[in-house]
């Protein structure tokens, strides 16, 4: 983990609030694993103050580039999404403990994304596919079909994608976890990898538990230092212990989390 001044290579607005930012950062591109994240400083002032946390959505070691996928939900993310090619940002990474791509041994890996939660799962899908041994199914949920377009063209051809929208404007009409619940027997996954809002991950974890499928989730706990020094990102585990989401996670085995 290091601090970098990274130049922005490309930005792309993909949905009303969602964008992709590609940054020049060769070291992170080489070192990062799926589920790890970066922390970005916004501007030079003190408001925004803390760094903002983003999963790494893809790495391109050959170009020394990493990709982030950002939903503009507040001041910090709005400023980030308005940056242009050539602007520079200060970032720290790669941080945290990522997914175990081999979780559950052989068989299909099922990735379940809620909205912007797709970011780390796209990287994971790519990694699993590259390893060559395991098929990947990608369940993508969003509010409307417009929200789904955040991942358009970013999922490998070999990945089977199943979509769900809250309003039924594309794919399954309903929550992506309901879709998962209906399909899990048919899919018979070796493991589930989930990222999205916490209630959605909780629901997915419960489905995994009932089905007896190993499941990893990437928690969205607010962070301050991002490196384990402040204990601000604590998450309670089933054994009563408090662990740090930034270094002991953000990816956890679902059955260890005290939901």
């Amino acid at each position: 983990m290091h601090e970098y001044e990274a130049g922005i290579i490309r930005t792309e607005r993909r949905t009303q609030t969602g964008c992709i930012i590609e940054l020049e950062c060769g070291e992170i591109a080489l070192k990062a694993a799926p589920g790890q994240f970066v922390q970005i400083r916004i501007g030079k002032g003190t408001n925004p103050f803390l760094r903002r946390t983003f999963s790494i959505c893809g790495t391109f070691p050959e170009n020394g580039m990493i990709r982030l996928m950002i939903d503009a939900v507040g001041l910090g993310t709005e400023i980030l999404c308005s940056l242009k090619r050539g602007d520079r940002v200060n970032l720290v990474g790669p941080l945290g403990k990522g997914f175990d791509p081999n979780l559950g041994g052989n068989g299909t890996a099922v990735l379940v994304a809620g909205g912007i939660g797709a970011a780390p799962l796209l990287f994971l899908a790519e990694t699993i596919l590259l390893s060559g041994k395991s098929p990947v199914t990608f369940l993508m949920g969003g509010k409307t079909k417009n929200h789904l377009s955040i991942i358009e063209g970013l999922v490998g051809e070999d990945v089977m994608v199943m979509e769900a929208t809250d309003d039924g404007s594309r794919g399954y009409h309903g929550m992506v976890t309901t879709l998962l619940d209906e399909q899990i027997r048919k899919l018979s996954p070796r493991s589930l990898f989930v990222c999205g809002p916490n209630p959605m991950m909780k629901a997915a974890a419960e489905i995994a538990r009932s089905a007896g499928v190993p499941c990893q989730v990437s928690l969205e706990e607010r962070m301050a230092c991002g490196i384990g020094a402040c204990l601000g990102c604590a998450v309670r585990m089933n054994d009563g212990s408090m662990v740090r989401s930034c270094v002991d996670g953000p990816v956890f085995n679902a059955d260890e989390v005290a939901w």
Partner: protein, 308 residues
């Protein structure tokens, strides 16, 4: 540049420079060593140590606020035994001053920590935390009144020969009164400020942003309050003052030094700039050179006030 003297000799300790890392924001030193050699700092203060392990407050524990943040960690720590068996071996041999931040619910808790750690030469001094706003018992309760602060420090003074630095709370009517009380109880120094109690509300859920409801405000937002309190306290006691609260650049640190702080601590600013202490050390050096000073003491407490 070699004739610039950044060192400070206070509390019978030698600080190679006046910049320390503040308690609770620097782990126990290890985390930041991925960025640089922490021995380049003047020193650091450990996360609060209590006799027993504590799991701290439930999450969420932090929220950003304008130019600052609230935290309600609540003294999460592995307890004294684990501190001795795991942390002390890791800091032993580190060529910098390590102070232990001591906390507890009762006088006895504080006494236990000071007594048990007294034989460890790795620990140079204690920072007595009577200002934690995030626990139900102890903490800020001791720091809110001169009498209770005096009594606690008086007791601890019997327990240890190590320097006792008392970490003061800003949430009082007159911080200099508390500072004078602990000075007369035998404290070797005071450090200030701890966080200011605050809260934030999620108006959509109508719930507090922190599970603990309130938390402590830190960061640049509170710097003007901290500088004022350091200035007033340094004028009012004769023991050294360690200044902190919202330091985010060398110039910020210089405000504290000119106001009268012998040492400064960087806190949550390091979450944003991990290299902040080094930036501050370098900036203080440059400042001394630019204005033709040779040592820190020439500017400590040198605020120029028109007489009225």
């Amino acid at each position: 540049m070699n004739d610039i003297n950044l060192s400070q000799n206070i509390f019978g300790l030698e600080f190679k420079n006046p910049v320390m890392a503040a308690s609770g924001t620097f782990g126990n030193g290890g985390e930041f060593s991925e960025f640089y050699d922490v021995a380049r700092l003047g020193g650091f203060v450990t996360k609060a140590v209590t006799p027993e392990p504590r799991t701290g407050n439930p999450p969420p524990r932090i929220i950003e606020t304008p130019s600052g943040m609230l935290n309600s960690i609540g003294l999460q720590n592995e307890g004294l035994d684990s501190f001795i068996s795991k942390v002390i071996p890791r800091i032993s041999g580190l060529d910098t001053v390590v102070m232990v931040n001591v906390a507890g619910s009762t006088v006895n808790d504080y006494r236990t920590v000071c007594a048990r750690l007294d034989s460890f030469c790795e620990i140079s001094a204690y920072e007595i935390n009577i200002s934690c706003p995030n626990v139900k018992k102890g903490g800020i309760a001791f720091g809110s009144f001169p009498e209770s602060a005096f009594d606690l420090i008086k007791e601890l003074r019997k327990e240890t020969q190590k320097p006792l630095i008392v970490k003061l709370s800003p949430a009082v009517t007159d911080i200099t009164e508390i500072a004078r009380a602990v000075e007369s109880a035998g404290a070797d120094g005071v450090s200030l400020i701890n966080t200011i109690p605050g809260m934030a509300i999620n108006v959509d859920t109508r719930r507090p942003m922190l599970a603990n409801v309130t938390g402590g405000l830190s960061g640049p937002a509170i710097r003007p309050v901290a500088v004022r309190m350091v200035y007033q306290t340094a004028k009012s006691v004769s023991i050294p003052v360690i200044g902190m609260g919202g330091i985010f650049s060398a110039r910020d640190a210089l405000e504290f030094i000119i106001a009268g702080a012998s040492l400064v601590q960087t806190g949550c600013g390091m979450f944003v700039k991990p290299g902040l202490p080094l930036e501050v050390i370098a900036g203080i050096r440059e400042y001394l050179i630019r204005y033709g000073y040779h040592s820190l003491n020439e500017i400590t407490g040198s605020l120029r006030i028109m007489e009225d």
